[in-house]
Amino acid sequence: MTEVIASRSFRGTAAEDAIESVHNDLESLWLEVPFVQDIDQMTFTTAVIESASNVVQHAEPAGQAEVELGVDIVVCRTLLQARVSAFHAKPPFGPMEPGTPGKDAESGRGLALIQALVTTVNFERQDSTNTWVLSRTPPH
């Protein structure tokens, strides 16, 4: 990875107010890196919030400890990357690939949306932590 120009890190209980905190972090981050185009800010923000919301909505605790959400974002000159983690969580259940919900469906579009918004999505599991690594390479 090239030199990190700006970054933000969040860690806290995987609850609704965490989503607002991460969103506020992203908005303050963009103020530090005006070279990142509006379209890249918009797409990356949407992907990160979508992924963090998946953790809050779906992650299940692996043991007694509550699930924590972690979001680590770095901005490099040619890369936006976020590591969205569910700590103390069971392995994710259900599909890891996007489905094709019908037009009347009220859920099931999140994974497809994330994949459309970033360049790569990778999943890692270590100990009791699930991490989705979202990377967007802005066009030059």
């Binding site: 609704e16 107010d17 989503i19 607002e20 969103h23 509006d38 918009m42 797409t43 923000t45 949407t46 919030i49 979508e50 919301s53 809050v56 909505q57 037009k103 009347d104 469906a105 009220e106 859920s107 579009r109 999140g110 497809a112 949306l113 459309a116 918004l117």
Partner: protein
């Protein structure tokens, strides 16, 4: 997110101010559900002040659309911001919930 409503001649205008995310989505469902229950199933959702929408917010829009139609009305959206338009287009839901440029246009041909 804040919701307000105002009755127009033939519909109710709902303004959604803020981020339509997983926190606000159930609030929108409840707000519009109450309007429908109170006899206003024709609704224009003004999204000029909606700075962000994710798939939870989109799901709420679809739920509200279905509820309005089941009550004999309709839900239309207007004034979408670039981020909301992007989410609608990437999910192809702009074909189901076509955005109108202004609130006034939404029911102008009915």
């Amino acid at each position: 997110m804040n919701f307000t409503s105002e009755l127009r001649d033939s519909y109710a205008e709902v303004t959604a101010d803020g981020r339509l995310n997983m926190v606000a989505a159930p609030q929108l469902r409840e707000f519009i559900g109450n309007l429908i229950t109170d006899g206003s199933p024709r609704i224009v959702l003004n999204l000029e002040k909606t700075s962000f929408m994710d798939s939870s917010g989109l799901g709420a829009l679809i739920g509200c659309l279905k509820a309005a139609r089941q009550a004999g009305g309709d839900l239309r959206i207007a004034g979408v911001t670039p981020q909301v338009r992007m989410v609608l287009q990437l999910t192809s839901m702009d074909k189901v919930l076509a955005p109108y440029a202004t609130v006034e246009e939404a029911f102008s041909n009915d």
